[in-house]
C-alpha cells in the first residue's frame, strides 16, 4: 500500500488533567490526506482539532505516534507547512504589511526588498486590504481585518500544506465568501494540499473534497470521513440544488448533533482508530442506503 501525501499514524495526545492524572484528548488517531486534497475537519469545541493541527504543523510533539509528509517524518515546523492560527498570531509591533513581508522574506531570501513588498501587497490586496490600512499596526485593525492579514501571510508563502484553523471565523458573510473563492482559486492553481478546521457545515461542503468528523473528547476519534460527491467548480448558490447536498448536510448535522456524543468517551485500548469512509451519492443508482434527503432552509 502506498502512503498518502500526509499520513497520520497512531497519533495520541494526553495532557495532565490537573488532578494528578492524565487526560487523553485522542488516542491512536490514524488517517491520511492525499496530495492536492482539500480536507475539512468538523467537531465540537474542545475535541482536539487545534491540537491535531499543531502536531501537523510540527509546533507540538504528540505523546505518541507520527506524522509523515511526503515520505518524511514531521519533526519541527517548516515553511512547507503554512499555518493560519486560530488567534491570528500577528506580531503587534509590526505594521500589517511587515507582518506579511517578513514571512515572504523568510521564504524567498533571494528576493529584493521591492519584490518582497510587491508580493506582500498583492496578497494583502487579495484579502481586501489596500491603501493606508496596510501601514497600520494590528491593534488598530478590526478582528476580521487581523484574520485576513494572517490569511494573507500564509497564502503568500505557497506552502505545500496549508493548515487553517477556523480561518474565516471572524468574517462577515460577504468577506468570507470572497476569501473562500480566493482560497479555492489559489488551491486550484497551485496544487496545494489544504487541511482546514471549521465550525461551519455549509462552508465545509462548499470547499472540501472530504470532511473528517470528530467525536467529542476526551478520547475523541476521527470517526468518519465523508466524501463530498458534488462536482467542482461549485457555486455557493447553485450547490444547494445538487441532489447530494442535503443528503450530505443532513448526515453531518446528524453526526454533530447526536452521534458525536454517542460515540464519545471510548478509550481505544491501543487499537488503531481509522475513520470509516462514508460516500453519499444519490446521482448514481443508490447502491448503499443513505439518509433521506429532507428539504430545509439554508442560510447561505
Amino acid at each position: 500500500m502506498t502512503k498518502p501525501f500526509l499520513s497520520i499514524e497512531n497519533l495520541t495526545q494526553t495532557y495532565p488533567d490537573g488532578q494528578g492524572g492524565t487526560m487523553t484528548v485522542f488516542g491512536n488517531a490514524t488517517f491520511g490526506v492525499e496530495k492536492g486534497e482539500f480536507v475539512c475537519i468538523l467537531g465540537h469545541s474542545g475535541c482536539g482539532k487545534s491540537t491535531i493541527m499543531n502536531i501537523l504543523a510540527g509546533l507540538a510533539e504528540p505523546t505518541s505516534g507520527v506524522v509523515v509528509m511526503d515520505g518524511r517524518e514531521v519533526s519541527g515546523p517548516s515553511l512547507d507547512r503554512g499555518v493560519v492560527f486560530q488567534n491570528y498570531s500577528l506580531l503587534p509591533w509590526l505594521s500589517t504589511l511587515k507582518n506579511v513581508s517578513f514571512g515572504v522574506a523568510a521564504r524567498h531570501p533571494e528576493w529584493s526588498k521591492a519584490e518582497v513588498l510587491e508580493h506582500s501587497r498583492k496578497y494583502l490586496a487579495m484579502v481586501g486590504l489596500e491603501g493606508d490600512v496596510i501601514h497600520r499596526k494590528p491593534s488598530q485593525l478590526s478582528g476580521g481585518m487581523r484574520q485576513r492579514v494572517s490569511i494573507a501571510r500564509a497564502f503568500a508563502n505557497h506552502p505545500k500544506l496549508l493548515l487553517l484553523d477556523e480561518p474565516f471565523g471572524a468574517l462577515d458573510a460577504l468577506t468570507r465568501g470572497t476569501i473562500q473563492d480566493e482560497l479555492l482559486k489559489i488551491w486550484g492553481d497551485s496544487g496545494q494540499t489544504v487541511f482546514m478546521i471549521t465550525h461551519d457545515i455549509d462552508e465545509a461542503i462548499l470547499l472540501a473534497d472530504r470532511i473528517l468528523l470528530m467525536t467529542n473528547g476526551p478520547f475523541a476519534r476521527v470517526a468518519e470521513s465523508v466524501e463530498i460527491t458534488i462536482p467542482r467548480p461549485r457555486n455557493r448558490t447553485a450547490i444547494v440544488e445538487h441532489p447530494n447536498y442535503y443528503a450530505i448536510r443532513n448526515h453531518l448535522v446528524q453526526f454533530l448533533g447526536k452521534r458525536s456524543k454517542e460515540l464519545a468517551g471510548q478509550a481505544s485500548d491501543g487499537a488503531t482508530q481509522s475513520p470509516e469512509t462514508v460516500r453519499i451519492d444519490l446521482t448514481d443508482a443508490a447502491d448503499e442506503p443513505t439518509p433521506e434527503p429532507r428539504l430545509r432552509a439554508v442560510n447561505t
Partner: protein, 277 residues
C-alpha cells in the same frame, strides 16, 4: 475654568505652587538672620555671617545665573564650572551603565530563554542584588586601586540588577504564539532573537534600563562624595565643607534636573518600543 485644558490647568497650578513656595522661603529667611537681634556671643561665633544661614531663593537664583552663564571654566582642582562637574558624573554613570547593559542584556536573554540557566543563576542574583552598591566600594578600591574606576564599578554593579532581571522576565514572558510564528517561518535562533523576542520583550527591558539609570544617578552622588576629586557629588560635598549653602542648594537642584533629563530620555525610548496587543 472650562476653557483651559487639563494640561493648562495643571501647568498653571504648578507655577502658582512654585511662586508661593519661593515667596514663603524668601519671606522666612530674613527673620532668621536679622543681625541686630543676635546676641554678642552669637555674632562672635559666626551666627551673623551671611553664609552660615540658609540662603533665600533670590540668592540661589543669582548663583545659578552666575554658574550657568559660564559652566565650563576650570580654575584648578577645587574650582571647576558646574558643567564640568556634571560632565564627569555623567561620564561615569554612562560608562558604568553601558558596561552593565552589555553584560546584563545578553545574560538576561540567556536566563529568560533557559529554565536551567535561570535556576542556576537565581541564587547568586538573589544574594548579590540586595547589597548596597556602596558596600562594594572598599573592595573595589582595594582590588582596582583606582578611585575613578572604582566609582564606575559601583555604577556598574548597581545598574546591572534591574536590567538583568527585567530582561530575563521580559524574554521568558514572550507569548508562545509569536515564537510559533517565527518557528513556522523557519527563522534561525539569532533571527528569532532579534526579530521576535527582542521587540516583544523590549518594553520590559527598557523599563529595567530606566530603573537602572535612575539608581545609577542616585548612587553616583554618594560614590563621588566618597571618592572625591571631581563630579557633582564631590562638588556638593566640597561646597558644604566651604559652608557655601547657596552652591549646595544650587547643585542639589542641578542633580534633580539632570536626573530628570536622563529619565525623560528613557521614557521616550520606552514610548518608541511600546506596542499595543
Amino acid at each position: 475654568m472650562p476653557s483651559l485644558s487639563l494640561n493648562q490647568r495643571a501647568l498653571l497650578l504648578s507655577v502658582v505652587m512654585l511662586v508661593v513656595g519661593l515667596l514663603v522661603w524668601e519671606a522666612a529667611i530674613p527673620a532668621q538672620k536679622a543681625v541686630g537681634e543676635l546676641t554678642e556671643y552669637e555674632r562672635l561665633t559666626g551666627g551673623g555671617a551671611p553664609k552660615a544661614g540658609v540662603p533665600p531663593p533670590s540668592q540661589v537664583l543669582a548663583k545659578a545665573w552666575e554658574e550657568l552663564s559660564n559652566p565650563f571654566y576650570d580654575a584648578g582642582p577645587n574650582d571647576k564650572g558646574i558643567g564640568i562637574q556634571i560632565g564627569y558624573s555623567i561620564y561615569r554613570v554612562l560608562s558604568g551603565y553601558l558596561m552593565a547593559a552589555v553584560v546584563a542584556i545578553p545574560l538576561g536573554f540567556l536566563i529568560g530563554m533557559s529554565p536551567v540557566a535561570y535556576k542556576a543563576l537565581n541564587p547568586f542574583i538573589q544574594v548579590l542584588r540586595p547589597i548596597s552598591p556602596l558596600a562594594w566600594m572598599p573592595l573595589a578600591l582595594f582590588i582596582i586601586q583606582d578611585s575613578e574606576a572604582s566609582a564606575i564599578f559601583v555604577i556598574f554593579i548597581c545598574s546591572i540588577w534591574p536590567m538583568l532581571i527585567n530582561t530575563a522576565f521580559g524574554v521568558a514572558g514572550v507569548r508562545q504564539d509569536w515564537v510559533n510564528v517565527a518557528r513556522t517561518h523557519e527563522l534561525g535562533h539569532l533571527k528569532t532573537a532579534f526579530t521576535v523576542i527582542l521587540p516583544a520583550a523590549a518594553p520590559t527591558i527598557v523599563t529595567g534600563m530606566r530603573i537602572s539609570i535612575g539608581i545609577a544617578w542616585l548612587v553616583i552622588v554618594a560614590a563621588e562624595m566618597l571618592v572625591g576629586g571631581t563630579g557633582i557629588g564631590y562638588y556638593v560635598w566640597n561646597e558644604w565643607n566651604n559652608l557655601d549653602l547657596t552652591s549646595v542648594i544650587f547643585s542639589i537642584l542641578m542633580i534633580g534636573v539632570v536626573g530628570m533629563m536622563l529619565d525623560a530620555a528613557f521614557a521616550s525610548l520606552q514610548r518608541a518600543v511600546a506596542y499595543a496587543e
